[in-house]
Subunit: 142 residues, 2 copies
Amino acid sequence: MSLGYTKGTDMLDSEQCPDCKRINEVLSRVGDRWSVLVVISLSRYGTLRFNELKRHLGISQRMLSLTLRELERDGLVNRTYHPTIPPKVEYSLTPMGESFREPVRALGHWALENQAIIDAARETYDAAAEGQNAGKPAVPSI
Amino acid sequence: MSLGYTKGTDMLDSEQCPDCKRINEVLSRVGDRWSVLVVISLSRYGTLRFNELKRHLGISQRMLSLTLRELERDGLVNRTYHPTIPPKVEYSLTPMGESFREPVRALGHWALENQAIIDAARETYDAAAEGQNAGKPAVPSI
DNA sequence: CAGCATCCCGTATGATACTG
DNA sequence: CAGTATCATACGGGATGCTG
């Protein structure tokens, strides 16, 4: 959502497969944690107010504000402003936002499925690495 | 892959749905651009050497090195070192790495499908925003 | 309540230089 | 070629304070 990485990688246009560029753009757009979490929350609850989302996600006001604006701009969420006192603003998913749930779920599903395996792999790897550094001072760190 | 966001959001554990935590971890793990791009490249070409990946992705040496190490640690890629001169190191996907392709493809597919729509939505949104700032000095910026 | 503006810090990441 | 070490920088994102 342009909140995340979109800049760097200026080098990424002289070389290789345009797909990589493409995918990069894709990830830049929907890859940031907050956007995904907001979409998921909205998809589950239908409609939420600003502070409801804030509390629910444990996101800072600033990031929620930025994220919602981007999501609205990208056409993934609807923003409904009720000029009451106090003001009330409700957010919900647009059809496109809804369609985004699927791929996200797929990703989430995979991750949940493999989380344990990954953790195990890490332990194994780290253990092996330990062996390598057996003799070393093991970094005193600060 | 722990390269990306993993810290912040320390606030994210006193409140709401554990799913959000979960998904956050998920995204922390596979959400960074380079990991995804590396996996995609490897899945397409089967086996690639360090510099092949580097050129192919337009990634800096540093990030590729870090990314590959994490991917290996997480058990997503195999690293084969050939102690020849000059040295030759080949990377390929593990079965788990292969299984990761699916969700990634789903995401990529969605994004490609909706990219145009999103762009259109942005233009509309920006145009509308323009209207709002019609009278304003339009930020002299520096 | 909704949301913008500021300040500030940690870290992700690219550039450069060096090694086996 | 494959990688590590170091430096510099920008961006992500939280804390705080203000407005309507």
